[in-house]
């Protein structure tokens, strides 16, 4: 770990006169097991490392990466980044992060024991998971896949502007995807469990969830087109919040791509909505004490009781907006330069659990899964249309299953037409926490 920081610091130290250099150095070890029919289908073990280098010269940015920490490769990569900087358009706001005096929250995201777990135990857990899922219900035909995966990742960032830091984390998961059916009818369901430590994993939770989700869909049909309230399952809420979060990017605002650009201080959502991005929340699997530029992450309130309250910035977009970085730089590993993004979104929970919300809705559609988010949700225009599967809500309770329908509205309208925010907040994999969420006025297209 200090070694990665040493490498990053050494690269940052190669900055010439009138030049800024930032190095992001990462190393990871991963194991992935897939099991099928009680046997290992595949077992991968991998160790990878690399460096991403940003150079700012004459108000221009260049970037290069390489999947190697070989000193010769690092030198070539730096030279390439320097050369690339000659081709950007000069931008007075171009530059790396500067120390801002905000202290990093110390987060303990590393579990030493994960590194010591023998591969045989990981395999055994995946086999046990598959067996559990297959044995839960006579209608389970098979588990198409039962997986175990883990990653131990370490990263260091250092810049010639005096920012530096390290972050390391462990993570593991099990997941299972089952096929169930009666006669010609086949339905599917997935379940998972995630943790930082091997002992956090709960195969029963993963198997039960997968089978419950699949079995309750048996006999599902299209429903008639209608406009109805929709109750989103926790997992679905997670993906909706991730899209919503992107519209609060200061970069999107500056570039005229955010529907909330002119709306700060205005009511954009139902008063029950308070949306926070807080990477310092240790319960979030995506928690991080520092952002991708090495600044301290912090709690940012994006929507406060329905009112748009803040946009997120990295150091570049902040400089351009005349604001301060909110510690919101993110990057997709060493292969990309940083940009603005959310890490750990959550809605302030309400006071009803799923059962109470269903009861209060009376008639509607409970959506347990959505399909086609990338092809049907436009975060710029707000147009929202996705494939959905779930269960009708009748008399305040879950009723017959429904599939092959779409639900549609706009993100703007959905925010204003929130009916209930669940009390059942749970951190799930991904950049947002899940909870049950009820929204009015969605168009359901079916038969």
């Amino acid at each position: 770990m200090p070694e990665l920081l040493d490498i990053a610091t050494r690269i940052a130290g190669m900055a010439g006169a009138g030049e800024q250099v930032e190095a992001y150095v990462a190393h990871s070890r991963e194991t992935d097991v897939r099991v099928y029919g009680g046997e290992i289908e595949s077992l991968s073990s991998a160790e990878s490392e690399g460096v991403g280098i940003r150079v700012i010269r004459n108000s221009r940015q260049g970037f290069a990466y390489a999947g190697s920490l070989d000193p010769r490769v690092i030198e070539e990569t730096l030279a390439e980044a320097r050369d690339n900087a000659g081709f950007a358009t000069p931008d007075p706001h171009a530059g790396l992060a500067e120390p801002d005096g905000v202290e990093k929250v110390s987060l303990d995201l590393w579990r030493e024991d994960l590194a010591a777990v023998p591969t045989a135990d990981k395999v055994a857990l995946a086999i046990e998971l598959e067996a559990r899922a297959r044995g839960l219900d006579a209608r389970v035909r098979q588990a198409e896949s039962a997986d175990y995966g883990d990653a131990l990742t370490e990263a260091a960032v250092a810049s010639s502007t005096g920012v530096s830091g390290t972050q390391r984390r462990t993570g593991c998961h099990v997941s299972v995807f089952v096929l169930v059916g009666e006669g010609e009818d086949t339905q599917t369901g997935g379940g998972y469990s995630v943790g930082r430590s091997f002992s956090d994993l709960d195969i029963n939770e993963a198997a039960d969830d997968a089978v419950e989700r699949a079995v309750r869909m048996i006999g599902a049909r299209k429903t008639r087109s209608a406009r109805l309230p929709v109750v989103f399952d926790k997992r679905v809420t997670t993906s909706l919040l991730a899209i919503l979060g992107s519209t609060f990017s200061g970069e999107a605002v500056l570039k005229g791509r955010s529907m909330f650009a002119e709306r700060l201080g205005q009511e954009v959502a139902h008063p029950s909505i308070t949306l926070v991005d807080d990477p310092t929340e240790p319960a979030a699997y995506t928690a991080s004490g520092q952002d991708a530029e090495g600044l301290a992450t912090r709690r940012n309130v994006l929507i406060d009781a329905g009112v748009a309250s803040r946009f997120l910035y990295d150091s570049y977009s902040a400089r351009r907006a005349g604001a301060r970085s909110t510690g919101s730089a993110v990057r997709g590993g060493f292969k990309s330069a940083p940009g603005v993004g959310c890490r750990a979104l959550s809605l302030a929970p309400g006071d009803k659990d799923e059962e109470a919300i269903l009861a209060s809705i009376g008639t509607g559609l409970f959506v347990q899964g959505i399909q086609g988010v990338h092809s049907g949700v436009n975060p710029v225009s707000g147009d929202f249309s996705v494939g959905a599967e779930g269960l009708m809500i009748r008399d305040g309770q879950l009723a017959e299953p429904v599939r092959e329908v779409t639900i549609a509205s706009t993100l703007q309208r959905m925010l204003l037409e929130v009916l209930e925010v669940g009390s059942d907040l749970e951190y799930l994999p991904g950049t947002a926490a899940g909870l049950t969420l009820a929204v009015d006025g969605l168009s359901i297209s079916g038969s």
Binding site: S42, L179, T186, S336, S381, G382
Partner: protein, 465 residues
């Protein structure tokens, strides 16, 4: 990249704990990308990925390891890790000797202008030309972003059956995305062109033309009305509509899903699975297309495979592992994102053959429906067959005429059901590039079809149909 004698020693080592099959996949990939946004070239980036993935197969189990170290020491360590990961079998020494080398040229067309030979300034100039063109398309264009990317990927595959193959794949991609702002808010329009090949792509498709297409779409949607909600006839224009087949049946015809019985098409070879107007092909040999290669990522020469002929299912797509299990030939559909990934069954260029009808006639014969001029993407659950695809340029058809543009929405259907409802196929075939994601791996693919009609499909808008 690696000496033949080294490869033989590494493969022999990989088999020494009883492996039945071993493979070295080495890759050396260089990429250049540049992005213009908000009127500025934000940055130019370069990447280098170089390494090898080694797999060892014992029975039904595959062990896999990868390394960025292509020295014999690095490869030996990866071979041992892969062998250890595979369940060990009988042991013993099996010497590997490699056969004749296949040398591919990436499946590109004869003329190649290597992007590596072009200056970075010439790549930046394309972005600037696109920005200028898009902004000149109309005052309502409020934002433009453009992306240029090229890659040169050299691969080498050697396996314990003696196979030795190399390919040198050059790809070039150009995309533009625009925002238009009007009284009704913001709308977006995008266009992407991508070829297996180099800078010669811009002779046929100037950057400005890509930009104007993106701008036109964004401007058009400012006056779009909400998409209808409900079941309607849907006419899909030639080109990007190929995504329909990629999702409605392409994934479901991949042998990994078939052998696990997790596809609605399992056990249906020889049966009618689509309207007789449907003849579907997957073809990795189409010169210059985005999903083309000379050899697949398991070293097998690309081929053209008929999947559905006149509505009857003829075959699935196969990679090495699944073909081995069924004791049949591969179909050269073994692909992987990089040396860090295991190969699996993937499509290359998947397309519907032309029919006999006239595209305009098909519209004229449709009283009320939706005309989809551009699809944006989709996804499928192969086990149930339910799939969606999103329309990013679409119009109403009223009394046989294309009328008002409509806003973005997804369409949803069930694969076998929708394939049976294709009731008209035109003669205006076209192709379109895309990126296909499966199990976390992204690979370039091509899609294609002529204009066609689906007699009834659920359109996921908000307006009463």
């Amino acid at each position: 990249m690696i000496e033949e004698t080294t490869l033989q020693r590494v493969l022999t080592r990989a088999l020494q704990t009883g492996g039945e099959f071993a493979e070295v996949f080495a890759e050396d990939k260089r990429t250049t990308a540049a992005r213009l946004d908000d009127g500025r070239v934000e940055d130019m980036t370069s990447g280098r990925d170089r390494g090898a993935g080694i797999r060892v197969v014992v029975g039904e189990t595959t062990g896999f390891a990868h390394t960025a170290d292509l020295s014999e020491t690095g490869l030996m360590a990866a071979a041992e890790a892969a062998a250890a990961a595979a369940r060990s079998g009988g042991g013993g020494v099996r010497e590997v000797s490699l056969g004749t080398r296949t040398q591919g040229r990436g499946g590109r067309q004869a003329k190649l202008i290597d992007p590596g030979s072009m200056t970075k300034a010439s790549k930046v100039a394309l972005l600037e030309a696109a920005d200028h063109a898009a902004r000149s398309a109309g005052g309502a264009i409020s934002q433009v972003s453009a992306g240029y990317g090229d890659s040169r990927r050299r691969i080498l595959v050697a396996n314990s059956d003696g196979l030795l193959a190399e390919d040198d794949q050059v790809r070039t991609r150009f995309s533009v995305s625009c925002v238009a702002t009007g009284d009704t808010g913001m709308q977006t329009g995008a266009e992407v062109r991508a070829r297996t090949g180099g800078f010669e792509m811009f002779d046929a498709i100037p950057a400005e033309a890509v930009a104007l297409e993106a701008a036109r779409r964004a401007l058009l949607k400012l006056s779009a009305r909400p998409a209808p909600s409900g079941v309607l006839p849907v006419v899909v224009k030639s080109g990007s509509g190929g995504i329909l087949f990629h999702e409605a049946c392409g994934h479901g015809l991949e042998a990994d899903h078939i052998l696990k019985d997790s596809s609605v098409y399992a056990g249906r070879v020889g049966q009618k699975v689509a309207s007789e107007l449907v003849t579907l092909v997957d073809d990795g040999t189409m010169g210059g297309e985005w999903g083309t290669c000379a050899v697949d990522d398991e070293g097998h020469p690309a081929s053209r495979n008929v999947l559905i002929e006149n509505g009857v299912l003829t075959d699935y797509m196969w990679d090495f592992l699944r073909a081995r299990k069924e004791k049949r030939p591969v179909s050269a559909n073994g692909r992987r994102q990089s040396y860090e990934h295991l190969p699996m069954v993937r499509m290359t260029n998947t397309y519907l053959l032309s029919g006999a009808e006239d595209a305009e006639e098909i519209v004229n014969q449709t009283k009320l429906g939706v005309y989809v001029a551009r699809l944006g993407g989709g996804s499928v659950n192969t086990a149930t067959g339910d799939f969606v695809f999103g329309m990013t340029e679409a119009y109403m058809i009223e009394n046989g005429e294309i009328t008002d543009p409509i806003r973005d929405a997804n369409l949803i259907g069930n694969g076998p059901d929708i394939l049976g409802r294709i009731d008209a196929v035109a003669d205006d075939f076209d192709m379109c590039p895309g990126t296909c994601g499966k199990d976390g791996q992204q690979v370039p693919v091509g899609c294609g079809q002529p204009t066609l009609r689906i007699s009834a499909m659920t359109v996921g808008g908000t307006a009463g149909a």
